[in-house]
């Protein structure tokens, strides 16, 4: 009897440190562990006793890839606690900066981290030798996303211009309109990207997932909406902890999230797409249809097409916002602290990101909880592996290991975020 393990000590092309361990007994998977050994950083602990106004700058440092997501969930939570709603052009600018982050982050993942798997390259730089035009187009798309974040945020990593109540400074119409031409190019490039990704080789792999994302009656979700699932969950963000819980397990410094009484669920682009397809602009719906996607996407490998569709959406949405923009009178609304609890939930590029804070009358944070997308997806990733490996056990070890890594990268996991990520080791018996 052969004892075997599939083991990846240090997963590449993911953000942060993690590995995978799979134990096999013949064709049976005995154990799958997505191991997260990213050193714990204790954000929720040191947010205590900080001012409510500091949360967006501090939580941005959880993740260098999606700082806007952290800033957005934080400011919305604080505004809810203080009874303030940010509307009009300031609300639109928040959507715009989020468009920038989606284009940048999806561009990075799609072209540099995920596409090389489908084409058998170890990285995008090696892929660029055979596919220079695709890689250059990807880098240019990513740059345009970053340019939106730089203009509105001051810089692409850990932007400085987001504050509770709005922004420190808002752009003039003329400043924003400089983004129009590059965004029109980006929209065409995104259309080509949707078409290009649809022709990649996809393993036949589907699953009846419970998708979870924000859902808004009028728009594709960024910052607002109810939390909905493909299996009937429909709750206000305030009710998050009534329906979701986090488990702390030994092989991970990241907490695992589950839906109470049901278990694993799936957040991220495929979940958002499947729950909000009809809110996409027509051009994105048509491109998706042409690429062979239905109204839902239950093959996680095809999340690469969905990311391309979301880049297209983000370009379209950014152009809409810039076109309708009128500079607001003030860059922010005044927010006075008020004792209470605030919840913030926004759609990070890799999925729903929930924040909850308790603050006192002076605006001092008394308690903080943060549930990042990757910790929510950990269990689904382990489930995917447990199902995929027995079906593909005949593959040579190297190829199977690589495909296991690809399954993990389907989720664009951000280990730095979740750590509160990951090694592949398969034990075969």
């Amino acid at each position: 009897m052969r004892r075997k393990t599939i083991k990846v000590d240090y997963l590449a092309r993911v953000e942060g440190e993690g590995g995978l361990y799979v134990k096999l007994d013949g064709d049976q998977v005995r154990d799958v562990q997505l191991r997260i050994f990213e050193p714990p950083r204790f954000f929720e602990a040191f947010l205590r006793d900080r001012k409510f106004t500091e949360a967006p700058d501090i939580t941005a440092r959880i993740c260098g890839i999606c700082p806007i997501a952290y800033q957005m969930s934080a400011v919305h939570a604080m505004e809810q606690a203080c009874g303030v709603e940010v509307t009009g052009q300031l609300r639109e600018l928040r959507r715009l900066i989020y468009c920038g982050e989606w284009i940048e982050s999806h561009g990075l993942h799609l072209f540099m981290l995920h596409a090389p798997d489908f084409l058998g390259y170890e990285d995008a730089i090696r892929m660029a030798k055979d596919h220079p035009d695709i890689v250059k187009m990807g880098l240019q798309l990513k740059k345009i996303g970053n340019d939106i974040v730089i203009l509105l945020g001051g810089r692409e990593i850990h932007p400085i211009n987001v504050r509770v109540g709005g922004f420190y400074k808002v752009p003039t119409k003329k400043e924003l309109s400089k983004l129009t031409e590059p965004l029109k190019w980006a929209r065409d490039a995104a259309l080509k990207t949707v078409e290009w990704t649809s022709k990649l080789p996809f393993p036949d792999f589907e699953w009846d997932y419970e998708f979870v994302s924000l859902s808004h009656p009028d728009e594709y979700p960024f910052n607002e909406g109810r939390i909905k699932s493909s299996k009937g969950l429909d709750i206000s963000i305030d009710e998050f902890y009534d329906h979701f819980e986090e488990e702390h397990i030994e092989h991970s410094t990241s907490l695992h999230s589950i839906i109470k009484g049901r278990g694993a669920y799936y957040v991220g682009p495929s979940a958002r797409y499947s729950l909000n397809f009809d809110k996409l602009p027509q051009v994105a719906r048509e491109a998706a249809k042409k690429a062979g996607l239905g109204k839902t996407c239950t093959n996680p490998f095809k999340s690469i097409i969905v990311r391309a569709v979301e880049i297209l959406f983000s370009c379209e949405e950014a152009l809409r916002i810039i076109d309708n923009y009128e500079m607001p009178d003030a860059p922010f609304v005044e927010v006075s602290p008020k004792a209470g609890v605030g919840h913030g939930c926004s759609e990070a590029p890799r999925g729903m990101l929930y924040h909850r804070y308790k603050i006192d009358d002076n605006g001092v944070i008394k308690d903080a909880n943060i549930v990042p997308p990757t910790s929510q997806n950990q269990k689904i990733i382990e489930n995917d592996l447990a199902q995929f490996i027995p079906e593909n056990i005949g593959l040579p070890h190297d190829k199977l290991t690589w495909q296991c890594e690809q399954i993990i990268r389907n989720y664009d996991p951000c280990i730095s975020c979740s750590c509160h990520f990951l090694k592949l080791k398969i034990d075969r018996k």
Partner: protein
């Protein structure tokens, strides 16, 4: 015979990945950089790993676990030059906030089963553990400075990075002083330049993410905050205790205002 390309390695310890992302954010220059060096080890970007030794190692993140305290010595041994990138690697980072508190409290606030968590009492900069050839400050680092440092080390020269304060950058871009004109507390006078003085140009005070400049007069600045801007001690502690809280100058200043 063609000259061997220098080998670059990127290492990660406790951090947010933002500083190494700066390398991927060099969009226009990335393929050029990749042409002149061999990216031998960069897990965020590639699954290919070429064995050391490496001509230049870029190290992101701080040391917070017993395992990492061992690992950094292996990185040093495999590297001709070792450059730390960012506030975590250079000063301990935001996670050094735990250095001011009891780590067991911290673990139990975040994790239900603290026994599964192995963490050192302090988050410490790389230079506390091994010899560092150059420290590039910033949370996050500036990508142009990163390219400058890589090119300097690969060409055997000193990086051309100024150690003056953010104030100099404000003056050079003609930003009106937010402290003088608006009474907004600003850490610019004691903070290392490099970001390009972004915050004041967006009408907010510098929050010190590049860490202390050379010879910073933090006590003078703190007394300005107190006397002219009515900032209380608790808030002064918060100003100095963010992304470079454990940098000596900022640490001492914050400790002297603890009530």
């Amino acid at each position: 015979m063609a000259k061997r390309k220098p080998k670059l390695a990127v290492w990660k310890f406790a951090s947010c990945d933002g500083c190494q992302l700066s390398l991927l954010d060099c969009e226009d220059k990335l393929l050029e950089v990749a042409d002149s060096i061999e990216i031998a080890m960069f897990m965020e970007a590639s699954r290919a790993v070429i064995k050391g030794p490496y001509d230049l190692s870029l190290v992101e993140g701080s040391i917070t676990t017993p395992h990492d305290a061992e690992r950094i010595h292996k990185v040093r041994r495999a590297s001709k030059y070792l450059v730390t990138i960012g506030a975590c690697a250079t000063t301990g980072g935001i996670q050094a906030l735990k250095n001011f508190r009891d780590v067991d409290d911290f673990v139990s606030i975040v994790y239900a089963n603290p026994d599964y968590i192995e963490s050192l009492n302090k988050s410490t900069p790389i230079a506390d553990h091994v010899f560092v050839d150059y420290e590039l400050q910033g949370c996050p680092i500036n990508k142009n400075q990163l390219i400058e440092v890589i090119s300097a080390f690969l060409n055997g020269r000193k990086p051309n990075i100024h150690s003056y304060s953010v104030c100099m950058e404000c003056k050079r871009r003609s930003t009106v002083c937010v402290m003088v004109a608006h009474g907004t507390p600003c850490l610019g006078p004691v903070t290392h330049a490099g970001c390009g003085a972004i915050c004041p140009s967006y009408n907010r005070g510098c929050y010190g993410c590049y860490g202390p400049k050379e010879t910073p007069n933090t006590s003078s600045l703190a007394s300005w905050f107190e006397k002219m801007m009515d900032v209380d001690d608790d808030d002064i502690v918060r100003y100095f205790r963010t992304f470079n809280a454990f940098a000596e100058a900022f640490r001492k200043e914050s400790e002297s205002h603890e009530t």
